[in-house]
Amino acid sequence: MREDVFAALASPVRRQLLHLLLDGGSQPVGRLAERFDMARPSVSEHLKVLKDAGLVAESRHGRERHYRLEAAPLMEIRDWLTPYERFWRERLADLGTVLDDMEDRDDDNR
């Protein structure tokens, strides 16, 4: 995983920003900034770090900038942190499908 993604995730403020975007979807800077006890420019600075790491993208809506999550680095984080957890969840889901396709035997229901 990229160094700047690690650095971006190292800050509790930036993790909180990601959390807000995960929960609330695309949002203007103002709404995000309300949730922090810090000046709006500081929040913008943190968003810039997340943007530079590719974790969020920004778009203009009139005079406001909106931020949203980018999927690719999130997937990278997930795969990197919990590759095996994901592996097993997918395997167990496949097991369910295999069982549905398997023929029942008389002695299965004892």
Binding site: L9, A10, E76, D79, L81, T82, D94, L99
Partner: protein
Amino acid sequence: MTTAEDLRAIHVDQFLAHPPAKVWRALTEPEHLNKWLMPGDFRPEVGHTFTFQGTPVEAAEFSGTVYCEVLEIEKERLIKLSWDDGSRLGWTVTWRLEPEGRGTRLFLDHEGFDPDDPRQQVSRKIMGGGWRSMHMRAIEKVLAEMG
């Protein structure tokens, strides 16, 4: 569950709408294992050593081959394997079957992760305080919606 435990093991469970005897067949007969897990020459006998052949996964530092030994077998209840994917030592994988209603709940424990593994340490440092388990679900949800 504490964070320290989180780092040492993965616990996943799934309800399967089939009786334990049938689930047991899916877990122990290579023709079925093949379809949901990986091709391998598994036999439900303690001491049997075998390999599973999978697809390499770079993110998991997984070479594609898993070397296993059957450590415990309790028919229709439990299978415990040593699980060596070539990158780390000391992993075990346990499947436990419990009847639930007309079906089976299958518990999977993948244990033996080393909390001192550099990757685990970095993970703990940046993801501390339950961030990982809480947010993984949210990430999954967002990714599912993104398609």
